[in-house]
């Protein structure tokens, strides 16, 4: 099962959404969270702070979520980090692009707490099965 002590990085350019995701994660028992407002600051955070899970938006100024995902997969030290995308981008091609780039889960905004919980469970079940 999921380790409630894991460190989670929340990446979104809207501070309200970072806060909402953080609140939802807290509700689910995850209290160790960090925040970044775009891909660049997220990468800097990930390279300096131990992190077990990333929740990222797609459409952000600076480095987008998909670019962040690709950068994570291309970095040997970060490549295995699970990434959940939480985004308003709901086009089929985009979901496919994210999947091809190695995303672990994809949530379309607006979303519910139940969806977040379900996707988290699924991601960690799959990771446990693969380990």
């Amino acid at each position: 099962m999921m380790d409630k002590n894991m460190n989670i990085l929340i990446v979104d350019d809207f501070s309200t959404m970072r806060r909402i995701v953080k609140n939802l994660l807290n509700d689910l028992g995850f209290t160790k969270t960090g925040e970044a407002e775009d891909g660049n600051s997220a990468l800097a955070y990930l390279r300096s702070t131990p992190c077990d899970f990333v929740v990222t938006d797609w459409n952000m100024p600076g480095m987008t979520g998909i670019e962040l995902l690709k950068a994570i997969r291309a970095d040997a030290a970060l490549a295995k980090l699970p990434v959940l995308m939480v985004t308003a981008e709901a086009k089929r091609e985009q979901i496919i692009e994210a999947a091809q780039a190695g995303v672990n889960g994809y949530i379309i905004k607006p979303f519910t707490a139940a969806t977040l919980q379900e996707k988290l469970n699924k991601i960690f079940e799959r990771l446990a099965a693969a380990a």
Binding site: N23, P110, A113
Partner: protein
């Protein structure tokens, strides 16, 4: 190749017309002019001239619109700033709601920690669930903010296109005398605060 032939035709027809005019022969002149008219009504030429006409008409109606509403070009940067302000305002409101939700959650957690009558537990749990829903409902701010930013981008592009056209039309900035609506900081520099308004009213003996 065919264009060269057509141009040669035109030169020949014009030469004929000039010669007819110079010789003072009306029949020959009419014939030459008719040949010119026929040349002019060739299909390609007709289509091109229609396109040119439509283009010219469109340009004049846009120019007319810009002239009848001289604020159009000036209103667009204003509209962008106002939309940007809406994003800011909803962000502040969402944070305020989230602050209150956080406070209430702490209070609910404190209540839970105390010895309470048994029937209170489901009630408190229900309040906590609703608080989470209220927090989640604030995601409208992110969604609406993204949509508004998109519209700001569209307005920006229209603005650039109109600015180019404005060079031909000559748009001036004037006061339209209408109501300004809610004041937007940095946009409505002439807008005053409540304190300013009170001072102004006091100065008027009110």
């Amino acid at each position: 190749m065919s264009a060269v032939v057509r141009n040669d035709d035109l030169v020949r027809l014009l030469d004929l017309a000039v010669a007819a005019h110079q010789s003072g022969d009306p029949d020959q002149l009419n014939g030459a002019l008719e040949a010119l008219v026929e040349w002019r009504s060739r299909p390609l030429h007709t289509v091109l001239s229609r396109v040119a006409h439509e283009l010219s008409d469109s340009l004049s109606s846009i120019a007319l619109l810009a002239r009848s509403d001289p604020h159009l070009a000036n209103d667009l940067p204003d509209a962008r700033s106002r939309l940007g302000y809406v994003v800011e305002m909803t962000e502040r409101a969402a944070h305020r709601t989230l602050d209150c939700v956080d406070n209430c959650r702490r209070r609910v957690d404190n209540l839970f920690a105390q010895p309470l009558p048994e029937e209170c537990a489901p009630l408190i749990a229900a309040i906590r669930t609703d608080l989470s829903e209220m927090a989640l409902a604030q995601e409208y701010q992110d969604i609406s903010g993204q949509i508004i930013r998109r519209v700001i981008g569209i307005v920006q592009r229209v603005e650039s296109a109109l600015a180019e056209l404005g060079e031909h039309v000559g748009v001036s900035r004037e006061n339209d005398g209408g109501l300004a609506g809610p004041a937007v900081p940095q946009v409505d520099v002439s807008a005053v605060s409540q304190t300013d308004a009170d001072a102004l009213l006091a100065g008027l003996g009110l």
